[in-house]
C-alpha cells in the first residue's frame, strides 16, 4: 500500500481509539512562541517577513504565528494562505478535489522573506508543490519553512527551518493535528493507520 500523502492531516479519520496525544494545547502555544522568536532572531527583526499558511491547518498556524510576531516586534506581519491543490503531483491518483483559498497579502511576496507554515512535514511533496505555486505568484528574497510537527520519511530533498517538535514515526502511524479554529481543540495525536480505503480524504 502506497503511503498516500498524509502531509495534510487526515481530518475524517476516527481512529482516535488508539491515538494518543503527543502535544497538548499549552505545548502547542509554547512551541509557536519559540518558533516566532526564532523567526525574529534569524530574520534580524522580521522586517520583511510574509507568513503564508498552507490550507487547512497551516493557515491557522500562520495566523497564530503572525499574532506572536506582532507581540514581539510591535508591528503587524502580513499573513496569507497558499493553496497547493492545483500543483500537487498526485492529482491523477484521486478524484478532483475541492480547492482552498489562496490569499496573498496586498504587498505581494516580491523581495520578501516568505515563511511557509504547515502543520505536518512528512513526504515533503506538499512543500514541493507550495514552492511551485509560490513561483507563479512572485519572486521572494528567500523562502523558509515552519512546521508544527516533523514526522520524518522525506521523499524529496526538503527540510524545515523551524520545527515545533520532531516526532519519529513509523509509516504505519498517523499524525493528526487538531486546532481549535477547525476541530474545537488544540492537540497533536499519534495513532495507528486504519486499512486505507481508497478515494477517501
Amino acid at each position: 500500500m502506497v503511503p498516500v500523502d498524509t502531509d495534510t492531516t487526515d481530518s475524517s479519520a476516527d481512529s482516535s481509539g488508539a491515538a494518543r496525544p503527543v502535544l497538548e494545547a499549552p505545548d502547542i502555544a509554547r512551541v509557536l512562541t519559540r518558533i516566532a522568536h526564532e523567526i525574529v532572531e534569524r530574520a534580524k527583526g522580521a522586517d520583511d517577513v510574509v507568513l503564508l499558511g498552507i490550507p487547512t491547518r497551516g493557515v491557522y498556524l500562520a495566523r497564530r504565528l503572525a499574532d506572536k510576531l506582532a507581540e514581539i516586534t510591535g508591528r503587524s506581519i502580513p499573513v496569507g494562505s497558499l493553496d497547493i491543490t492545483m500543483y500537487r503531483d498526485d492529482l491523477r491518483l484521486r478524484p478532483a478535489r475541492a480547492l482552498a483559498r489562496t490569499d496573498i497579502p496586498a504587498d505581494g511576496v516580491d523581495g520578501r522573506l516568505v515563511v511557509l507554515v504547515d502543520d505536518v512535514l512528512f513526504s515533503g511533496r506538499t512543500i514541493r508543490a507550495a514552492l511551485d505555486a509560490l513561483g507563479d505568484i512572485g519572486r521572494p528574497r528567500a523562502v523558509q519553512l515552519a512546521v508544527l510537527v516533523d514526522r520524518g520519511h522525506r521523499e524529496l530533498p526538503i527540510r524545515a527551518d523551524y520545527v515545533g517538535k520532531n516526532i519519529p514515526t513509523s509509516l504505519r502511524e498517523t499524525v493528526k493535528v487538531q486546532l481549535a479554529e477547525e476541530d474545537g481543540r488544540d492537540t497533536v495525536l499519534l495513532g495507528l493507520q486504519r486499512p486505507v480505503t481508497s478515494g477517501e480524504q
Partner: protein
C-alpha cells in the same frame, strides 16, 4: 464527498445538462470558479494542473466567444487545445458525428467540448461509447447551454451576494427575470433549471408566441408583462432575439417587440437599486436592450465574459483534474 459535475446516473463524468447538477455540485463549481478567478489577477495566469491533457473544441456551429472562452480556460490550466470547426473540415464533406468522434478518440482527446445545432448531440456523444473522454455541452440546438447558466449564476452570486460572502452558498430567494425568446433559447432553459436548483425564483417574460409548449411544467413562473415584473426583480436577463431562428411570424415588427419587451433606461430605473441587468451576448443594441442600459454600471455583459473563463476552468478542472472520470465506457 466530492462529486463530479453532471454526476447524474445517466451521464456521470460529463456536463450535458444543468438538470444533472445537484445543488452541491453547482455550488462546488461556483466555489471552484471563485478560486480560478483569482488566478486572473496574478502575474502568471497559468496553472500546471491539466498538463498533458488534450481538450478538443468540436464546434459544428459558429461561436467565437464560447470557443475562445473554453480555449482560454483550457490553456490557463495548461491543457493542449485542438480546435475543430465544421466549416472547411471533413464534416462539410459529409462525415458523420460518429466518424468525427472516432477520429478524435484515436487522437487521444481527454475532453470534448461540443457545440452542435442538433439538440441531444452531446448526450449522444457521451453515451454512445464512441469516445472515452469527458463531454462538455457548449450549446446544443434549442436544448441547453449549461456552462452559460453556470457563469450567469456565478455572476449573479458575485453581484448579489458578494465574491467572498457567497462561497458555499446558492441564490436562495433571489428573483431573476428572463426576458425574450425563451422558445429557442438554450441559455434560458439551462438558466431556469440551474437557478431553480440554486434556490432562486425565476420568472419568464416573453410574447406568448415565444413561450414554449409545456412551460407550465418548468420550475418558473410566466408573465407577458415586463413592467409588472421589473420592480420585484433582483436581476433581469435579456435574451438575444435570434434573427436566424425568427422563421415564422412570432411578433409583428421588431419595433413592437422592442417597445414591449426591450429594456431601456426608463424601465431600468423602475428596477430595485441594487439589481443587475444581464445579457449572454452578442447584444442587439436598440432591439432587446438600449445602448444606455448596455453601457450602464448595472449591465454585467462584460463581467459575464470574464466569469465565463473562470467557470469553464472550474468545469474542466473538476472533470479532468483528478483520476479518470467516474465512468469508463465499454467499447462497442
Amino acid at each position: 464527498m466530492l462529486r463530479l459535475p453532471g454526476a447524474s446516473p445517466r451521464t456521470p463524468g460529463h456536463l450535458i445538462s444543468a438538470a444533472d447538477l445537484s445543488r452541491d455540485d453547482a455550488v462546488l463549481i461556483l466555489d471552484t470558479a471563485e478560486e480560478m478567478a483569482r488566478v486572473a489577477d496574478r502575474p502568471i495566469k497559468k496553472l500546471p494542473t491539466l498538463r498533458g491533457r488534450t481538450v478538443v473544441n468540436l464546434f459544428f456551429e459558429d461561436s467565437t466567444r464560447t470557443r475562445i472562452s473554453f480555449e482560454a480556460a483550457a490553456k490557463r490550466l495548461s491543457a493542449d487545445v485542438i480546435n475543430f470547426s465544421a466549416k472547411g473540415s471533413s464534416v462539410s464533406k459529409g462525415e458523420s458525428l460518429k466518424d468525427t468522434a472516432l477520429t478524435l478518440e484515436a487522437m487521444g482527446a481527454d475532453a470534448v467540448v461540443i457545440r452542435h445545432p442538433a439538440s441531444g448531440a452531446p448526450y449522444r456523444l457521451a453515451t454512445s461509447g464512441w469516445i472515452d473522454g469527458a463531454v462538455v455541452n457548449a450549446g446544443d440546438g434549442t436544448h441547453e447551454h449549461p456552462t452559460q447558466a453556470l457563469l450567469d449564476a456565478f455572476t449573479l452570486r458575485r453581484r448579489l451576494v458578494g465574491a467572498d460572502q457567497g462561497t458555499g452558498r446558492g441564490l436562495d430567494g433571489r428573483r431573476v427575470t428572463i426576458v425574450g425568446d425563451v422558445l429557442h433559447s438554450r441559455v434560458a432553459r439551462s438558466n431556469i433549471l440551474l437557478l431553480h436548483t440554486l434556490g432562486a425564483r425565476v420568472t419568464v417574460v416573453a410574447p406568448p408566441t415565444l413561450v414554449p409548449i409545456g412551460v407550465e411544467r418548468w420550475p418558473c413562473e410566466v408573465s407577458y408583462d415586463l413592467d409588472r415584473v421589473l420592480p420585484t426583480s433582483d436581476a433581469v436577463m435579456m435574451l438575444r432575439v435570434q434573427r436566424e431562428r425568427m422563421n415564422a411570424a412570432f411578433f409583428p415588427t421588431e419595433r413592437e417587440y422592442s417597445r414591449r419587451y426591450g429594456l431601456d433606461g426608463d424601465r431600468m430605473s423602475r428596477m430595485p437599486g441594487d439589481s443587475v441587468v444581464m445579457h449572454p451576448g452578442p447584444m442587439n443594441r436598440g432591439m432587446e436592450i438600449t445602448a444606455e442600459v448596455a453601457d450602464s454600471d448595472r449591465c454585467t455583459a462584460v463581467e459575464q465574459v470574464a466569469n465565463g473563463v473562470s467557470i469553464r476552468m472550474a468545469v474542466l478542472y473538476l472533470l479532468l483534474g483528478g483520476n479518470e472520470p467516474a465512468v469508463t465506457h465499454s467499447r462497442p
